[in-house]
Symmetry: C2
Subunit: 158 residues, 2 copies
């Protein structure tokens, strides 16, 4: 059997200072940030840098994709509130023409595995109510709306 169609596999690597410009470039694209829960305009470097350096109880990864001879960075996934019993997961694929290939879902799945291994029992996500793509992604991984009143808040038993 000759299967020419192969699943595309992503890997996560921890984000570092050298990734700041790339993450800021992705996050400053209106096509990307219109899906964000908090952000309505392009980022300012100084604010982003100050925020980045003051992060606590949070991990950020770069989503990388291996394709033949080259590896490329396509987006970012993070988990925050690691000092709580239900950390919050967020993800974006910054390379907008790479949407729809399952990279975001794979990335969140890896982070849920990481959280489970770290002993957490729950994870949360905040999703804009009209972001159907994100809702589909998180629902497929077991997230449920907390309640009708808080329709942007999602939770997952790990």
């Amino acid at each position: 059997m000759n299967r020419s169609h192969k699943a595309e596999t992503i890997l996560l690597r921890e984000a570092n200072d050298d990734d700041l410009e790339l993450m800021m470039a992705w996050r400053s694209n209106p096509i990307v940030y219109r899906g964000f829960y908090l952000q309505r305009e392009p980022l300012k470097y100084e604010e982003h840098y100050t925020w980045w350096k003051s992060r606590r109880n949070r991990k950020d990864w770069i989503i990388t994709f291996q394709c033949g001879e080259y590896t490329r960075d396509v987006g970012s996934v993070h988990v925050s509130s690691l000092d709580s019993d239900s950390p919050e997961v967020g993800v974006y694929i910054g390379e907008v023409t790479a949407w729809g290939r399952g990279f975001g879902r794979q990335a969140v799945s890896l982070v849920l595995t990481w959280l489970r291994a770290a002993g957490y029992k729950k994870a949360r996500a905040s999703i804009l109510k009209d972001n159907a793509t994100s809702i589909g992604l998180f629902e497929a991984l077991g997230f449920k709306r907390i309640s009708e009143e808080h329709e942007g808040e999602w939770v997952c038993e790990l």
Copy 2:
């Protein structure tokens, strides 16, 4: 005399394969590419990579900006048609919140110096007729419209 206001100085470094994602992220931002002469949608990595690897008679630099403790990448400048007697210069500041600080103008000025040193006598630029910022930038550096009929084509004696 205590001058607290200091000019912000940029440096150019040659772009390499590791800059591809960043350049693509910048160039895939509608706020950026609406100013481009040729491009009406976000870039696709495979096409961008193939184009990048097949570049000839062209140099691309990353515009970097030193600010206190950190250096950051803010945009790109290039020169193409180096096999002609009037190479074409193009520039963009990908970090959109860094617009208006003269980074683009400094970058093009450095490239004109580079072209002069390499023995070229003329440089060209293609600019959308409603891109007032670019027109102002290139005019300030000595570029003039080639003719009324070709209003997007500019030339500069080096």
